[in-house]
């Protein structure tokens, strides 16, 4: 471990309370959000006809809806830790959802459709990787290009006149199609959620126990130093883009299965939610630090808030609240990271 970069060994400064808060604030925020939403007496509004926020069915429902975002944020965090960004994840998820639904509706069995969609996702990620690493296009622009490209392809794959791939015109969705995202397999939660948990666990291990995590942090912390120490930063970044593409495909599959549709717009805005979750989780903008697990909790916070807000205020407040949350997360993220620099 002699080559562990200095910044990786540094501990956040401050007293024990400050250190505790900085490490675990995200869990406190999650608890606070849940407590507030429970106290807000949501059963009055009777949205799910299931009573209180902490009702078992409501929790299962929120976790089911959250599966796509939860699958995505882990890999997205690692990419941001390495100092890069992928704005195309929403479009990649939409395209994967459409492709998956097309495979299913044309009679491919579940494992084949699932595997092929993952391959498509890896390909979409690889395209991003090539644009950024090989052609040297700025990540924001490269992935804005593919955001538009993937969205366009997804829209073209759906015939004119229909809004999504669904049963009709002699073809029908197989019976198994929505069991992945809806039918509980363990603790009442569907496979899609457990896949999200599994992906996150794998990535937590990858970040803490493998060279991938270390190299990602080194690339984001100081790209030149990382290159000079013999790390093939290009290959790390390419690999991370492919992983992000695959998790975007998983997210698309989960969304598509939950809605029983291949909707070419279903992933719109997912990149914003992912950025928001990662920021709430305290990942640095400039790269170099961030934790997969905290982003996972960040995503849970966002989904709990989204569902809670849908009940408390009219739907047209949604955009404003997301914008405010993004700015608040950006500001607090800045304050937290500045304290560490100063001290």
């Amino acid at each position: 471990m002699s080559h562990t970069p200095a910044y990786a060994q540094s501990r956040p400064a401050g007293g024990p309370v400050a250190r505790f808060l900085r490490s675990y604030y995200i869990y406190l925020v999650l608890v606070a959000v849940v407590v507030v939403l429970s106290a807000a007496n949501l059963d009055r509004f009777d949205l799910f006809e299931r009573g209180n926020f902490l009702n078992q069915n409501n929790i299962i429902n929120i976790l089911r809806i959250s599966a796509p975002l939860l699958t995505l944020v882990g890999a997205f965090t690692l990419l941001m830790v390495s100092g890069y960004i992928d704005l195309s994840v929403g479009s990649a998820a939409s395209l994967s959802a459409v492709v998956y639904a097309l495979f299913a509706i044309h009679g491919l069995p579940f494992p084949v459709a699932f595997a092929l969609t993952l391959v498509v996702g890896a390909g979409l990620g690889a395209i991003n990787g090539i644009l950024v690493v090989r052609l040297g296009i700025t990540p924001v622009i490269a992935t804005l290009i593919t955001l538009s490209l993937y969205k366009g392809i997804a829209l073209l794959l759906v015939e004119d006149g229909v809004s999504a791939i669904k049963s009709g015109g002699g073809l029908s969705m197989p019976d198994w199609f929505n069991s992945y995202g809806r039918i509980g397999v363990m603790l009442g939660l569907p496979a899609a959620f457990w896949v999200a948990v599994g992906v996150t666990l794998v990535l937590v291990v990858a970040q803490n126990r493998t060279l991938l995590g270390k190299y990602a942090a080194a690339t984001g912390g100081n790209p030149t130093a990382a290159r000079l120490s013999g790390i093939n930063t290009g290959r790390i970044v390419f690999l991370l883009y492919v992983i992000v593409g695959m998790t975007a495909a998983l997210a698309g599959i989960a969304r598509s299965s939950f809605m029983s549709l291949g909707d070419p717009l279903s992933g719109d805005g997912m990149e914003l939610s992912a950025i928001l979750a990662v920021l709430i989780g305290g990942t640095a903008f400039a790269g170099g630090e961030g934790r997969v697990l905290r982003s996972f909790i960040g995503a849970l916070i966002i989904m709990a808030l989204t569902v809670g807000m849908l009940i408390l205020v009219p739907a047209y407040f949604q955009t404003l609240l997301i914008g405010l949350a993004l700015l608040a997360a950006a500001a607090s993220n800045h304050l937290i990271s500045r304290k560490e620099v100063v001290s």
């Binding site: 073209l156 004119d160 405010l324 800045h334």
Partner: protein, 342 residues
């Protein structure tokens, strides 16, 4: 020491050779003309003066927004909030101008006189610009994240004011004048004329004023700019206010044209403004690009999308066409510059 001035002459492009920016702008202009000629061959009824005029007049909003976005990109910063600001200022103008005695919530406004409504709507737009500047300059948050947030904030406020719909009743009669006024006895409307004036002023500022040249300096090398005593914070604040101000004016003119404040107006306009700037050769890393290049970039986008519509492609194609166009533009411009300066 003899080699040094020769090299500097080549790099900086003095008397003998046109500068890199002029070179790229001419390249973009040639591509725009070339694409127009190609489209004329394939698309029936394309090669007409009216088509050429429409390519500019139909895109006045995006071209105007492109000016502010270009200046910011040259300084090394994004502004993705312009589309949201267009929606916000339009909705604010309508809300302020609606009389206070409507039948329901959406037809009741604040009853300001029209001029005051415009001033206040512009103020709202500038507030978003100030917020951008605050986060980018004071909090050092990456501009892409900040302006994504303010885009949603601005559009979100517009959606709350219109309750997710639009406001178009109970407006004073003079509300529709600004956006529909035709000029010089032709069919050219006031917003188009304002766009031309804005372009000329922007080109003058960019080429001939200290402010314009400092923008390039800040984008090209922020560190030397700071060490030379340039107040980057103040400069970026002005640029964000400029961009938001233009977006606010565009929003007010669009609201006037349609006589309505619609919370989803300007959706994707921030994307189109960015695309036109990139097509026009503005470098994302900052320090390079020109307003005139952006203008021709907008023409390229207009020719491509108009031709696609003329060939009866599904509107879904526009996303793929924009992606391919930006990709080709970035790759060829990088290649052309590398080859030229070899």
């Amino acid at each position: 020491m003899t080699a040094y001035p020769v090299k500097a002459e080549g790099v900086l492009g003095s008397d003998h050779r046109m500068g890199d920016e002029t070179f790229i702008a001419s390249l973009v202009a040639c591509v725009a003309v070339g694409l127009f000629l190609i489209a004329s061959v394939f698309v029936p009824n394309f090669f007409q003066p009216l088509t050429m005029l429409n390519l500019v007049t139909n895109n006045w909003a995006v071209i105007s927004l492109g000016v502010g976005v270009t200046f910011l990109l040259v300084s090394g910063n994004f502004d993705l909030s312009v589309g949201g600001v267009v929606a916000l200022s339009g909705v604010l103008a309508v809300w302020f101008a609606q009389s206070a005695d409507g039948n329901n919530a959406l037809s009741t406004g604040l009853g300001f006189p029209y001029w005051l409504a415009i001033v206040c709507a512009l103020g709202g737009a500038l507030a978003v610009g100030a917020l951008n500047a605050l986060f980018v300059v004071r909090f050092s948050v990456p501009s892409i994240i900040v302006t994504l947030g303010t885009m949603m904030l601005a559009r979100g406020i517009a959606q709350v004011i219109t309750q997710g719909s639009q406001r178009n009743t109970n407006l004073p009669p003079e509300f529709g004048i600004l956006g529909n006024l035709t000029m010089f006895g032709t069919s050219v409307r006031l917003p188009v004329v304002l766009m031309v004036v804005l372009l000329l002023v922007a080109i003058f500022i960019e080429k001939k004023t200290v402010f314009g040249r400092l923008t390039y300096w800040i984008g090209a090398n922020p560190v030397t700019a700071r060490l030379s005593g340039i107040d980057r914070a103040k400069h970026l604040t002005y640029l964000y206010l400029l961009s938001a101000g233009i977006a606010g004016a565009v929003g007010i003119l669009l609201a006037s044209e349609f006589r309505s404040g619609y919370s989803n107006r300007g959706t994707l306009m921030e994307f189109d403004a960015l695309v036109t700037a990139l097509l026009g050769g503005v470098a994302i890393a900052g320090g390079f690009g020109s307003v005139i290049g952006m203008f021709f970039g907008a023409l390229i986008l207009a020719v491509v999308t108009t031709a696609a519509t003329g060939m009866i492609l599904s509107p879904d194609w526009q996303f793929i066409l924009k992606a391919v166009a930006v990709f080709l533009a970035i790759v060829t411009q990088t290649w052309a510059l590398a080859r030229r300066n070899r």
